[in-house]
């Protein structure tokens, strides 16, 4: 009965507004997802390493698995997710309109997106940066040698802005070759319609890996010209939903840090370590305040795995190094607040 839950939500919102009590915020998104029995996750239709269908049509990739982790937190079932393909142009509208519950689509967390679009970003699940790929035959070793080049770029995204900034800062010019569709831009670059193709380094790596035996013909230049923290986005104003999305990811980091993975998790059930016991839902009621089962984190690790497992079978398999995406105590910057 949506009307009843909404009245409750409104009443609680009023209480919250009057500062009378620390109300447990109701979540319109959580209510809608539960009623639907399915979680709608906005993804990229075909970006290997992030989200792309395998030969059986099953979506694979780091972002597809992040969607699954949330589905598991909600339903205990990684299959209760509908992957909704979104384009670079329509992705924010899809989230704003409620067509998707979360957007996990190679999307950079920026100030103006957070300030102006009514969205907010959960932590970055992948710290990326924009790079360039050229043909080996071009004999280019650095992005600073690209003055006057034709550059293939997708429109309407920060990628285009970064490109302009970089060339302007280095007193160089370029000719943009703007193509919206990912497959078309690959083809254009391969066919020589541009000298270089620019997008996030991770996407360049997946493009290169897809060339199979021809991968050697392409070179990713060393410069990363931007910070591109890729992060899930949710609509503003739904507190509990934001918590669920951000802590579903933190749970995967915490498991890696504790040495818990999908294979060994059951052997931890007799652990006396309170941190482990809270994580597994054996003590501390870590799920209920989020509106979840206390075994939500256990379920995520059992069914999707910790962050390292997710990385290894997606980006790792594409040849992308962990680098700054390592845990904070292993040379990277991935860090989760304590679960207690």
């Amino acid at each position: 009965m949506p009307s009843i839950s909404l009245l409750r939500a409104a009443r609680l919102a009023c209480i919250g507004a009057a500062f009378a009590a620390p109300a447990f915020a109701q979540s319109p998104t959580l209510d809608a997802v539960r009623q639907r029995g399915m979680f709608n996750c906005g993804v990229s239709p075909n970006l290997p390493g992030f989200s792309a269908p395998d030969s059986r049509g099953v979506m694979q990739g780091l972002e597809a698995d992040s969607c699954r982790a949330i589905a598991v937190a909600l339903f205990g079932d990684p299959d209760k997710v509908r992957f909704v393909p979104t384009t670079v142009q329509n992705r924010f509208t899809a989230l704003q309109s409620g067509e998707v519950d979360v957007l996990i689509r190679n999307t950079t967390w920026t100030l103006s997106r957070e300030g102006s679009l009514g969205l907010m970003f959960a932590p970055a699940n992948f710290y990326d940066g924009q790079g360039f790929i050229v043909k080996k035959s071009a004999g280019v070793a650095s992005a600073k040698e690209l003055n006057g080049a034709a550059i293939c770029v997708q429109p309407g995204s920060t990628t285009e802005l970064n490109l302009q900034d970089y060339f302007r800062s280095n007193n160089m010019t370029f000719t943009p070759v703007v193509i919206a569709d990912t497959e078309e831009i690959f083809k254009a670059f391969i066919a020589g319609r541009c000298d270089a193709y620019t997008t996030d380094a991770s996407s360049l790596a997946s493009f290169r890996a897809r060339q199979g035996a021809n991968a050697e013909q392409y070179v990713i230049l060393p410069e990363l010209i931007s910070k591109e923290p890729l992060a899930p986005a949710v609509r503003k104003g739904d507190d509990r939903w934001f918590d669920i999305v951000r802590w579903s990811f933190f749970a995967q980091l915490i498991a890696e840090e504790l040495g818990i993975n999908s294979q060994n998790i059951d052997s931890f059930m007799t652990s006396q370590n309170p941190e482990v016991r809270r994580f597994l839902g054996l003590e501390g009621n870590m799920g209920k305040p989020l509106g979840l089962d206390d075994r939500w984190a256990y379920n995520i690790i059992k069914k999707v795995g910790n962050f390292a497992e997710m990385w290894d079978r997606t980006m790792g398999a594409m040849g992308v190094q962990r680098g700054i995406n390592n845990l904070w105590n292993k040379g990277g910057i991935q860090y989760a607040p304590p679960m207690r």
């Binding site: 500062f19 950079t108 607040p337 304590p338």
Partner: protein, 336 residues
């Protein structure tokens, strides 16, 4: 599907209605003309009044930075001392607009209290201290050492984990009372003392003229991320606090300082031009003046300057609190 769409439509209506009836934190602060910032009553380095009664410290400077972002004036802050038991209630009740009070971000604080952490400005956690003259510069060189600590599963387990992963042997010397632990360490009954970094810093500060006899080693071996909190449900305010923190970090990365920020208004760098408000509208998207970030840096300096002024004198090294480009964890999403 229709039901869902109807529900979402209704949700939007309710949200709009709520927004119209409840004054936002920004409205309240603007009308009052001063930011109410909850701080600790007296923790040197974080928030404590100096001899002239001016609040000094990292927490206090974060309050000033938010006031500078919002009003363009870092003096428009009232520092409100809060005790540990009452701090969350004071934020929930609206007595303070922001809690900047060396508080660890945890799951249950975020999920149970109706509060949200806007970011992390100090990665605290368990660390080690030795006496001056001990020939080590890293906790990893403490093989065979005896370590004074207060008994407690977490402290001992963290130390055991650190010893195991570093391939060294550490022997705990446990004592219940904190003063007893500190006296034992000073008297040389153990080679090192372990507790949270901020607590080691406070111990060292209390030694006054003898502070230099003690050295805090750079490694942080557990997680106590400290950050500012706001009430949930007011995301414009959340954004302002979170991006004020990021502005401090981004300024350090871009080389923008309290001294040079004015001269950078004519910079050619697009990142710097957006930061100082010479182009783009990032201030507008946060609901503040487009020169908000300039006002923040003019008020307190960049994150490195804030750290050097407040934390360095405590004998705490930057360590994991350095920028991500320098081996630390401090990272700001792009300000564009």
């Amino acid at each position: 599907m229709i039901r869902t769409l109807t529900a979402l439509g209704l949700a939007a209506v309710w949200a709009t209605a709520a927004a119209q009836t409840a004054p936002s934190t920004m409205d309240i602060v603007r009308q009052r003309g001063v930011l109410h910032c909850g701080v600790t009553p007296n923790v040197p380095g974080f928030a404590a009044p100096d001899t002239q009664g001016n609040w000094r410290g990292l927490d206090a400077d974060v309050c000033r930075a938010v006031a500078a972002a919002f009003f363009g004036d870092p003096a428009k802050v009232r520092f409100i001392p809060t005790t540990t038991p009452q701090r969350f209630t004071m934020l929930q009740s609206g007595d303070v607009d922001l809690l900047s009070r060396a508080t660890t971000w945890t799951l249950t604080r975020e999920s149970n209290l109706g509060l949200a952490f806007a970011g992390i400005y100090y990665y605290d956690g368990q660390a080690f201290m030795v006496r001056q003259g001990t020939p080590v510069t890293s906790a990893k060189q403490l093989d065979g050492a005896t370590v004074c600590l207060q008994p407690g599963a977490t402290t001992e387990r963290n130390m055991a984990d650190f010893a195991r992963t570093s391939g060294i042997r550490l022997t705990p010397v446990a004592m219940e009372d904190i003063e007893e632990v500190r006296a034992a360490f000073k008297a040389g009954r153990c080679d090192a003392y372990t507790t949270d970094l901020s607590s080691l810093a406070s111990f060292r500060f209390l030694q006054g003229a003898e502070a230099d006899r003690y050295v805090i080693l750079p490694e942080v071996t557990s997680k106590e991320p400290l950050g500012p909190l706001v009430r949930k449900g007011d995301w414009k305010w959340f954004d302002l606090v979170r991006w004020t923190l990021y502005a401090l970090i981004a300024a350090e990365e871009l080389g923008i300082t309290q001294a040079n920020v004015d001269s950078l208004m004519t910079s050619d760098s697009p990142d710097i031009r957006r930061f100082v408000g010479a182009e783009g509208e990032i201030g507008k998207s946060l609901g503040v003046d487009n020169r908000w970030a300039v006002n923040v840096i003019k008020a307190v300096g960049n994150f490195g300057e804030v750290w050097d002024r407040n934390i360095t004198p405590l004998g705490v090294q930057r360590g994991i609190n350095r920028l991500w480009t320098q081996g630390g964890l401090m990272y700001a999403p792009p300000m564009r």
